[in-house]
Symmetry: C2
Subunit: 467 residues, 2 copies
């Protein structure tokens, strides 16, 4: 009898809650699609400011702009969190060609990888050794590599459905390639762009020299996929052809920058903090619309959409626009460090850093019982075609907030087109669809609404959803 | 005991089948993503041929090209099915401006709707009456409309998640607007383009005069969404402004054309026919890449992917590239009529006519027990992020095949960007992503594989999937 009463009570409560939650989600989606602000903000960030490499003037303009826009939202607090960031500059445009005989050259499209050193002033010209990855390189004799340019050409695996998995399977070449090639006496390294498509655009991205002394560092560049195919094809015919590379990038001293933060203070549990964010810095070749202007403006709109949907959060909802995700993660680290110093209780964090495409769902990193609880909200998202709720990674910037007790999440948009644009000159505003961006903002807001309303602390405190 | 044995038998059989089916799907997706032909075919259709309006030279070139390509696939039969199609021609480019005072004009972007008559040779210039739809128009007095241009300006509803629903809620203005405006003495009609985005491109599409005598037909045009907003805004300031429209389109006599058909004859049940198709004709403003070049090349690749994945169909799998979906449906009607004449048994048909975007699933139209059976295959599609299996419509071309006993299906891709391009000058090859197109082809092939393997006739004939 006790169980029956409990069952009826739970069913009724559930019925009421479910109805009300469904209504709130409907209102959130409607507000985003008909009265969203994300696209307008992104237009400004992308077209009025542009690429926002850490330490650049544009990055500082973006800090000022987004701070002002957050202030206009009438939040409870808006502030800048200081963080020192690395400043790497590309210098004059890179130049590269394949030379098959004296005077016979073919230009190829390259760009310096972020953090790379320049070539010598006159450039570097050398024979090329092509490898499919770091393991293949390590198996070579020093004499096969010394004095040559190492060309990493393992393509992204096209038959993986999640393109981030294909990226994960290749990016070691870009990140560690120069260090490993340098150890064997290479004079430069070049890597096939992390792009599933064949086109003419080189894609930059972070690289590391590990413990390589400054004097032993070699230039590292990305080559467009079309030109990678061309170079590889020509090498099969003439292994003694030469590649010329010239780039003038430089690593300067660290400079002052900021995370941009705004919050709505929780009405019941102000000490429980829910963070939502993206990163404000971007690479310099495009305008950083997908990576990660989209995530920033969506996160800003989460707080605005909560407000205009009539939701008063119980917990503190904080938007954080992190600085320097691309080449240092200084913003994410500073935010977590400050949270620790203040003894803040970060119960949940959500990052959008996978492009402004149609949202498909989320991945969650946290204790099983908390993630299980979130999974039970999945039916609420079905009308919005949000179906992907999985355990998995969250986002680079929020990663440092990880504790054994909290949940970190990442928005998962459709990923098919992401690497067509990622870190390249065509990561631009025109590649973002307004509705897709707004659906992402609404999906994030809906999840934040539910986490805030019910919390994640105890599986017992709210009525169980019936399977 | 009998039940236990049956249960064990079914579980084992299921286990084996499920494993094998998962492997086949994996192979189909891999083949499409690494060795697909759809993108290459679409490149030719779009960039070498272009827009394929029924009755045009391009439409005939497309018939020849796709027939040859199907012949190259080594199918059991390839043929052309004759069908007479209407021939409507746009003539010289349309021209339109708003006039606020003598000599003060602002150009606006319009295009004739398919099937419209021309304006008088000197064009038509008249005051404008704006309405939000046909009901609002019908409520007006004849004197409010007579001698004016009726401007239908109800926008697509942005808060609907499925954009086809938003289209369905507006398209009556385009299709029936001229007939209704003509009844009240309007001299022309113009309709806001069926586009969720604000941009400068007018979107054409079919319209009908109903029973209006030829002498009483008025010109009908679409205006870009930006110019619809402009015209509406200016009318609020000055309701006596005039709009000038000139277009020289014509409806000519019917001409000979063809459905293009190829088939693999079934090895066990050759009389059970499974049709997969799209429509080969398109509007003339763009090159018809999404509508519906994509559906054609995906359907062609279904037969090719079955072959290269080592699948020998039990039933006859037939690809049909229908002619004249856009302004007549003659191809779809002819195909169904011929099927009836021959007494063919069409057990299943699948159409792809919603763009070449990331596939999300299918809608199914058929008897519940057959659709329920298909629903049980849904878990096989989860690794490919295909989650949307719903009862619903199928496709215009296969609609005439409908019987109470068979199942018709439509591929449902992500719809957010579809109406940015639909029937407009930017429905072009560059708006199609290769992977998204190929995922669609693989998803269609996978469903066809399952329908062919298990059939849909009886829920008892194969082991039940356990819930």
């Amino acid at each position: 009898m006790k169980h029956l009463v409990l069952f009826i009570f739970c069913s009724l409560t559930l019925g009421l809650n479910a109805q009300s939650d469904a209504d709130y989600l409907k209102s959130i989606y409607k507000n985003s699609l008909t009265n969203g602000q994300s696209y307008q903000w992104l237009d400004y960030l992308s077209n009025e400011i542009g690429g926002r490499l850490s330490g650049s003037l544009n990055a500082e303009l973006a800090v000022e702009y987004t701070k002002t826009e957050l202030e206009n939202l009438d939040l409870d607090r808006v502030w800048l969190q200081p963080v020192m960031v690395p400043k790497w500059v590309r210098g004059t445009p890179e130049f590269s060609y394949i030379q098959t005989a004296p005077g016979k050259t073919i230009s190829v499209n390259i760009c310096a990888l972020g953090g790379s050193v320049a070539t010598p002033l006159q450039g570097v010209k050398a024979e090329v050794i092509e490898v499919q990855g770091i393991e293949e390189l390590k198996a070579l004799d020093r004499k096969d590599v010394e004095g040559k340019i190492v060309f990493f050409n393992r393509p992204m695996q096209a038959d993986l459905i999640l393109t981030f998995e294909a990226y994960g399977g290749c990016v070691d070449q870009r990140y560690n390639g120069a260090e490993e090639a340098g150890k064997l006496g290479a004079v430069a390294m070049i890597v096939r762009s992390m792009n599933l498509r064949l086109d003419d655009l080189p894609h930059t991205g972070a690289m590391s020299y590990g413990n390589t002394p400054v004097s032993k560092r070699i230039s590292s560049s990305a080559i467009s996929t079309n030109d990678a195919e061309k170079l590889s094809g020509m090498l099969k015919i003439d292994s003694s052809l030469k590649l010329y590379i010239k780039q003038s990038c430089r690593q300067l001293g660290d400079v002052q920058s900021y995370n941009v933060i705004g919050e709505i203070t929780g009405s019941e549990f102000p000490d429980e903090i829910i963070t939502v964010g993206g990163h404000l810095d971007s690479w310099d070749l495009g305008d950083g619309s997908h990576d990660d202007g989209a995530g920033c403006v969506q996160s800003m709109d989460v707080l605005r959409l909560l407000k205009i949907s009539g939701i008063t959060p119980k917990r503190t909802i904080r938007v954080v626009l992190f600085m320097n995700e691309e080449n240092g993660l200084r913003g994410g680290n500073a935010y977590a460090k400050e949270a620790t110093r203040k003894g803040e209780n970060h119960v949940f964090a959500l990052e959008s850093d996978s492009g402004g495409f149609t949202p498909r769902g989320f991945t969650f990193d946290g204790p099983d019982y908390k993630v299980d609880r979130i999974m039970r909200w999945k039916p609420l998202f079905e009308p919005y075609l949000i179906h992907y709720f999985k355990k998995g990674g969250s986002g680079a910037d929020i990663g440092p907030l990880k504790k054994s007790t909290n949940v970190l999440a990442g928005l998962r948009p459709d990923s098919q087109r992401y690497f067509d644009h990622h870190h390249a000159a065509n990561d631009t505003f025109d590649a973002v669809n307004k509705r897709e961006l707004e659906l992402g903002a609404a999906t994030m807001t809906s999840l934040i609404y539910l986490v805030d309303k019910y919390g994640l602390n105890s599986i017992e405190e709210i009525p169980q959803l019936k399977d």
